[in-house]
């Protein structure tokens, strides 16, 4: 790479001025002339037949333009499931724009009011009468697969959506039999609600003359949305739909998917002949937007007496909800089972995942998506081994780490051909333990225990798979992904020397407009303020698969880098022509092309852009203008890693957990903007700690969500956290020319295990070895007092 100045600089974000002044246009801020407002009636039952929906009264209410039910959209196909992993092909059940005759979770859309204003629309909802025939409900995946359980879908006997395995079961069982110690533990990774502070929404406009739609939607993947809507739901050419993601107020995975409402709003715009807007309420967001996690796992881990792990066997029930979201089956399979080796050389691994339909909301990727669940299993297993063998958890980890010389590392084939790219796991752990003052803490802990105080320290030395891409890998038979996963970028240098980067990826808080501009400023040698980054509109940006899986820098960023290289090369050839030098003698560096050995014979990038634009004097065969598009499909994923250390104190009187310190040493490869990466890590830690201690979606036996508002579901507040202490190690990824790995999910992946391990360490003197998340005061107090949690 060229010598850089912006790469690695903590510059202020370029998207911020519009956000701190209120000028930014979020979905809710979009208004079109003549726009109507939609409100959706949602199923009050978790499982029911819909006998009839009477809309007459609602249709007559003041301000109402129309009331529609699923029957009005029977011509539209059900939504597609785009990642049919784990062999779900025959068991796919996906939402319709509005459900017609049956619902399988509370909150499924069944009717819609379109009115002059949102107030009138909401008033009219109450006037719609629905005749339900309630059906038996099952919300617990273990109950759902038992004989005699209520059946949700005809094509999924015993409610099993998929039954998927990886690893070598026979060898693993044999190794477990031969192990010195075997620990069996059931782990529940509870259901979470992503909760971006901006809920979802859509605005659609239909142009009857051309049959074209423009749809604004809260999406992390506008190009994919357009493809799925057009090709699968509407059955029209992709070119008839333009999708725009405006400013997006957080997503965390929950805005990756094609949702019924986005299609509904577009269909409504056509039906009523006016633009239609729908804004999700928070309650709708909690019942009808996807949830995350929700695994029940039985793990068996075998180790030698010296702490060397010899086998890991995992059986997981993954609750996928009442109906499948867009990429749901891929999360507990490819992104979970394949990462169960963690940061360790485990010679025998076996994983079986059964995906289950229950009468609950849809479950799909939520920040980390599969990898937090895998990390939790592996990192809890390491602590259980430490506890059983009497070894220090840090020592057990060190004895099992994949050593730096073992990269690229193939985790006994479970990654289906991929290998961990690079890592130095002990370096991160050593640094984190040093920051924590681990040895001194152990002494302090011993002393505190003598005083009846319960301090604990927990480690999580995670590895994750990011930059999710290689099309040839994700497209392997059995992976079930129905497309590629490359990214694209276009770079243009205008006549004025200003640079426009357009990317197919999508920014919803990550700061692409800053970091991608940093790449361009370095390579072209222009001021960063001369670069603008455009994204999130299918009109005018090249196709991209979107932003998730910490892939925007490692895949999308590399596509930008490639286009920049092409422009530099063209600039060099143009300069050679203008300077009357041989192309091989011209160097492009620091924003100028000059003749080697004669630095004064030079043209600036601005001069070259002008020359290329006007086209008066170009070398033979050269097209005018600097305009280069690239498609990047990496050879491998990237594998960030790190070590997190959490220190807690548990109040035995109340069960309250106080986090005293949280230390994170992450290795995300090379870092484009450290301030932005710090922000990503901190936000991720907060979400992961919240899973460990506070958050959890709870359904009652009737399939009603009990945590359906922010008064019930504990999104953490500023006062819940100490200052996080961060550091980094830098192990460049050999996978891509930028050496970046991805930083968006590390915190969420690492932290739940660190916190739970810390609390279990604190409670060790009381004989408590495992509790499930969230570690609420109630749960901890009950464990301390040996009481069983009363059945709800």
């Amino acid at each position: 790479m060229a010598a850089t100045t912006m790469f690695g600089a903590s510059i202020k974000r370029r998207e911020d001025p519009r956000l701190i002044t209120g000028e930014a246009n979020f979905l809710e801020d979009i208004r079109l002339p003549g726009m109507l407002h939609a409100a959706i009636l949602r199923s009050a039952h978790a499982h029911a037949r819909i006998r009839a929906i009477r809309t007459t009264k609602a249709a007559k209410a003041p301000g109402v333009v129309g009331v529609f039910t699923g029957k009005d959209f029977a011509d539209l196909n059900p939504l597609p499931c785009a990642w049919q992993a784990g062999g779900v092909k025959n068991n796919v059940n996906t939402p319709r724009v509005l459900e017609i005759d049956r619902v399988t979770f509370t909150g499924a859309g069944i009717a819609v009011v379109v009115a002059d204003d949102p107030y009138a629309a909401e008033d009219a909802l109450a006037l719609i009468e629905v005749d339900y025939e309630p059906l038996p409900v099952v919300v617990d995946p273990e109950e759902a697969i038992r004989p005699g359980a209520p059946q949700l879908h005809e094509n999924a006997p015993n409610n099993i959506c998929m039954d998927w395995s990886c690893g070598d079961r026979e060898a693993t069982e044999k190794a477990l039999r031969a192990a010195d110690v075997v620990i069996r533990q059931r782990l529940i990774n509870q259901r979470l609600i992503p909760t971006p502070i901006e809920a979802r929404g859509a605005v659609a406009q239909y142009f009857p003359t051309t049959g074209e739609y423009t749809v604004w939607m809260t999406s992390q993947a506008p190009h994919v949305m357009r493809l799925l809507m057009a090709a699968f739901v509407f059955g029209i050419p992709e070119t008839k739909i333009r999708v725009i993601s405006p400013q997006i107020g957080g997503a965390f995975g929950s805005k990756i998917y094609l949702y019924p409402e986005y299609c509904l709003v577009a269909a409504l715009a056509k039906k009523v002949g006016r633009p239609v807007k729908w804004l999700e309420t928070r309650k709708e967001n909690y019942v009808a937007t996807t949830h995350g996690r929700d695994h029940i796992t039985d793990l068996e881990v075998g180790a030698r007496a010296d702490g060397t792990v010899v086998a890991l066997k995992v059986k997981t029930l993954a609750n996928l909800g009442g109906i499948l979201s867009t990429i749901a089956p891929g999360i507990p399979t490819t992104l979970y089972g394949r990462m169960l080796s963690g940061a360790y050389r485990i010679p025998n691994i076996s994983c079986n995942v059964v995906g289950v339909y229950t009468n609950t909301g849809m479950v799909d990727a939520y920040r980390g998506a599969g990898r937090p669940e895998a990390t939790y299993v592996v990192e809890r297993a390491m602590d259980l081994v430490a506890h059983k063998t009497g070894l220090d958890p840090a020592e057990v980890r060190r004895r099992n780490f994949i050593p730096p010389e073992a990269f690229p590392y193939d985790p006994v084939g479970i990654l289906a051909g991929l290998r961990y790219d690079s890592g130095d796991y002990d370096r991160a752990l050593t640094r984190a333990l040093q920051m924590a003052g681990y040895e001194a803490f152990r002494r302090e802990q011993a002393q505190a225990r003598r005083q009846g105080r319960y301090l604990g320290v927990g480690l999580s030395t995670y590895v994750e798979i990011c930059g999710v891409a290689p099309s040839a890998w994700i497209g392997l038979p059995g992976q079930g992904w129905g497309a590629g996963l490359w990214e694209s970028a276009n770079v243009r240098v205008h006549l004025t020397g200003k640079v426009v980067v357009t990317t197919g990826s999508q920014s919803h808080g990550q700061g692409h407009e800053t970091t991608l501009a940093q790449l361009a400023a370095d390579e072209l040698g222009v001021p960063v303020d001369d670069v603008i980054v455009q994204h999130s509109d299918t009109l005018g940006t090249p196709f991209g698969y979107g932003t998730y899986g910490s892939r925007s820098a490692a895949v999308g960023g590399v596509a930008v880098h490639m286009s920049l290289q092409k422009i530099k090369e063209k600039a060099r050839r143009l300069a050679a022509h203008l300077l009357e030098a041989a192309v091989d003698d011209v160097v492009f560096e620091g924003g100028r092309a000059y003749v080697r050995g004669a630095p004064d014979r030079a043209k600036t990038i601005q001069e070259l852009a002008l020359a290329a634009s006007v086209g008066y004097n170009l070398p033979a065969g050269m097209e005018p203008f600097f305009d280069e598009t690239s498609y990047y499909d990496p050879p491998n994923c990237t594998f960030p890693f790190g070590a997190h250390v959490c220190i807690v104190e548990v109040d035995p009187d109340t069960g309250w957990v106080k986090i005293l310190r949280y230390i994170a040493v992450d290795d995300v490869g090379r870092v484009i903007n450290p301030l932005i990466v710090d922000g990503q890590v901190q936000g991720g830690i907060a979400q992961g700690v919240a899973q460990a201690l506070w958050e959890g979606a709870v359904y009652d036996r009737n399939g009603q969500l009990l945590t359906a508002t922010m008064m019930d579901y504990a999104v953490p507040k500023a006062g819940f956290f100490p200052r996080f202490e961060l550091d980094r190690t830098v192990t460049p990824s050999p996978t891509n020319p930028l050496g970046v790995k991805g930083a968006g999910e590390t915190g969420t992946i690492a932290s739940p295990a660190a916190v739970v391990n810390a609390v279990m360490d604190a409670l060790a003197p009381l004989g408590v070895t495992h509790l499930d998340m969230p570690l609420t005061p109630r749960r901890i107090w009950q464990a301390i007092h040996g009481r069983k949690e009363a059945a709800r």
């Binding site: 998207e15 002044t21 246009n25 500023a718």
Partner: protein, 159 residues
């Protein structure tokens, strides 16, 4: 009902339904869309504005309750093209990611700083408990409020 409200220094009268929420008055009638809506339960604080000098959740106040009152929204923070020190500090300290909670967060920060010109970390974190941010983990927000306090103290000292 007729209400007369002075928003960011501009007084206007409108006929409104009693049930019109203040946040909808600001967003839909005045077109001041910088104030956002993030929940139904007055939990998230994205809609925070100042009513008569007090930070309030504008989704939990009726427009008619604000009749005769004075409102400050995020659009009124910058003066004469100069960002408010709180805005500068949020920018410099990377106190925002998606930016959706940011206007409300800054309005609460303003109230905290009005009451505690040199706030402790604890005062800031306690003070922000009515504003949820899902992106940042709050650390850079806390840094931003502290930085804003320094800027405002310097400005006051320089006057």
């Amino acid at each position: 009902m007729k209400v007369t409200i002075t928003t960011n220094g501009v007084t206007a009268s409108h006929d409104v339904e009693p049930r019109l929420l203040l946040v909808h008055y600001l967003r839909e009638i005045l077109g001041l869309t910088g104030t956002h809506i993030g929940c139904d339960t007055a939990s998230c604080g994205a809609c925070t504005v100042h009513l008569n000098g007090l930070a309030v959740k504008s989704c939990n106040v009726l427009a008619v309750q604000a009749d005769g009152g004075t409102i400050l929204t995020v659009e009124g923070l910058a003066r004469d093209g100069q960002l408010h020190p709180i805005q500068e500090a949020f920018w410099e300290e990377h106190g925002l990611q998606c930016g959706f909670c940011t206007p409300g967060m800054m309005m609460t920060a303003l109230q905290i700083l009005q009451r505690h010109p040199d706030p402790s970390e604890e005062q800031i974190r306690h003070g922000l408990e009515g504003n949820l941010c899902r992106c940042t983990g709050y650390q850079h927000i806390v840094n931003a409020v502290r930085a804003a306090a320094r800027k405002m103290a310097a400005q006051a000292g320089g006057r």
